[in-house]
Symmetry: C2
Subunit: 478 residues, 2 copies
Amino acid sequence: MSSPLFTDLYQLTMMQGYWKHGLHTQEAVFDLYFRKLPYRGGFAVWAGLGPALEMLETLHFGDADLSYLDTLGLFQPAFLDALRGWKFSARVTAFPEGSAVFPHEPLLTVRGPLWEAQLVETALLNTLNFQTLVATKAARCVLAAEASPHGGQVIEFGARRAQGPDGALSAARAAFVGGAVGTSDVEAARRFGLPAVGTHAHAWVESFPDELTAFRAYAELYPDSTTLLLDTVDTLRSGLPNALTVARELRERGHELRGVRLDSGDLAYLSCRIRSAFDEADFRDVKIVASNDLSESVIASVIAEGGRVDTYGVGTQLVTAGGEGGGALGGVFKLASLGGVPRMKLTGEPGKSSLPGEKRVWRGTDDEGLYALDALTLGDVPRAGDRVSDPTNPLRFSRLSEGLTWHEAHALVMEGGKRTVPGEALPTVQLRARAELARLPAGTRRPLNPHLYRVGLGDDVAALREQVAEGLRAHTKA
Amino acid sequence: MSSPLFTDLYQLTMMQGYWKHGLHTQEAVFDLYFRKLPYRGGFAVWAGLGPALEMLETLHFGDADLSYLDTLGLFQPAFLDALRGWKFSARVTAFPEGSAVFPHEPLLTVRGPLWEAQLVETALLNTLNFQTLVATKAARCVLAAEASPHGGQVIEFGARRAQGPDGALSAARAAFVGGAVGTSDVEAARRFGLPAVGTHAHAWVESFPDELTAFRAYAELYPDSTTLLLDTVDTLRSGLPNALTVARELRERGHELRGVRLDSGDLAYLSCRIRSAFDEADFRDVKIVASNDLSESVIASVIAEGGRVDTYGVGTQLVTAGGEGGGALGGVFKLASLGGVPRMKLTGEPGKSSLPGEKRVWRGTDDEGLYALDALTLGDVPRAGDRVSDPTNPLRFSRLSEGLTWHEAHALVMEGGKRTVPGEALPTVQLRARAELARLPAGTRRPLNPHLYRVGLGDDVAALREQVAEGLRAHTKA
């Protein structure tokens, strides 16, 4: 989707206004950030940067776009002419895709002409909000699955329940970033180079005279990659014995049944029964796949009860980012500076005020190599003894301890509207996400009531915010 | 999205199996239905039919699709050759788009070659699940807004929080079906011919020396269509007095301020204060727009407290189908008959068994013109005295009363893979949805704990289900 019209109408009406007042080429700095972690969790996995940068690089107004805008009766011909030459020429810094990220810190910063940044707000937020949300959900599911003493993995099964076709595609990509090992969505697999995975459906069994005949037919066709769905008739009394029969027949022919899938019933109980049955018959490598409205909490409860699921096919809850605090990431894109002058939105709700000025984002690592906290400053690297305060509560502050190593969290990813680095392969991004989660304080990975990773404002940022807010209040009535 | 690869991998592996066994051209009947109403509500608004049929009509396998499938190592060359000639040639009946629909009744029925129906399952479910979910949410918001003694309307503001770019587009379309009067998403407005609507952002105000200057600049540029955002600095102490000043200046020049927007704070309280201020200054036509994470329940509470909002800009909650029981509609697509023989999935969970046989869907209307209940039969129109039973509980049944008029709910929409009727204009669909909701029993429209509209199985359907289930059980082990 790189239509320049994939934006909110007000971006275009404001752009005309900036253009009219000669403000459109003023250098603006916008920060993209969110205020609240999804799922009541302790971290988010930053995803969608690759597609977002690709969109920025290719965006332009074609004749059809301009003709349509002309029909709205809002735009002057000279402005539409000016749009003909519009392109994205700004500088962009951002966390590398796959990073662990936290509330109130800039995740991506655009510095460039005001009307460029304004246009791309909607599409940037759309892409980055959703992919970050789904990558985070995937990571939570993968952490839950890997907590099993027997190991466990997650595959993405959600195309039919996703929010639109692209909801499915974006979700498959983001799920992979968050650690899913494959997708059932063939188009997503093609487009992003992901492993395509699948079993068979109930309709397959119903299309044959009986379940055993259906199982045999599938195994004959896919002797090395068959996963049989057990619950079309009755999981333990029909699906399981028939699958055992087919496993034996396959072995006689020199093949091995790959797995079986459970799609209803008590997954903890059934997976144990099925594991025992296959183990007793010496089919220890047959994998048990489970599906049926799974989520990180269902996965955790299956494992807590000793369930023996090897692969969780997570669909609806993953691709729609379900669960408390899910559904949407409330990322925003806020003006921090214009023409070198710091800007902010004040509002009556403390948590909704923005942070003025062009900030640098620092990540502090302790002597064990774990991330300790992030700090925002207007320039300098943080030092031991510096004061940092809570972004939403200036009364809460602390001093930075000794022994922290600081690195700048943002990388330069675009200069003059062109990517400074080639697009990253998704397995690289997936590996980064995995490494990042391993470097978080353990309590931060807890699914509920986690340890809250700290993001602190350096005194220079806090002082600037106070000063800009004062200036704004000076204009209000008593 | 009309890629034939926008499907689950197992559809393609099953298709190869059907083809291998000569089953692929057997006549199959598949029903699309859901089991549970979203949002704990009493109705759903059926949406997405137009795009779904368009997808079916154009679907085919191109060279690039087949080359990709070849790389998966699962498909035989002769099968891939056969796919080259694949097209959708089936017959489709469905509820007209915009109809009020209920759990367990077929919403769309495909009758045609098995491998055609199997391929399209994923894309059909994706489109129809999501659009039905969002149209239903929109209808709930519109019902809430219209309950105000002063009237109220809903616009869709969600592009930045939607689940992917197409999540935004599909949501804008579906929100319109459910009664939203416009969208902020310009691409959606273009593609679907919807009214594009918008105000301005905080960044506009921050780009000028002060709020009044910013308001004046916007009003000068859009003298007849300006809606001013009041909360960049302070809603009542800065935004409101500045907006009043601009309203007066506009009137002096022969124009009228269109509206103001609230985006934070106590919407009920603030809208009353603002309404009074504009009314006292004789600006009775200035509309109050509210945004900030609205939902049907927030709208209802604003109205219950006497709030004076005219237009609700609903974003996140609408386009992501937020709230309890939202996020995804669990629609399924189940084989009901193959080669003339009824089929069903049994499973251990009673609510998850499917209904075998090719069914007809009847809607009964009472003598006041209100919908009374729906009934499924294998053929005949229901008659007074006929018994109908609950689809999930055979022990619950009742007899159809006198005085009901029955009409067949499905229309023929495709024959031989071609639409039998031209695509409908969206305003027509929106009007149908509105008329349908007006014909529901009032309690059905209640947002929570609604009256549950009944869908009953005729005795012929119930008996067939029992008979097919018996046949399946005969194959299970004791």
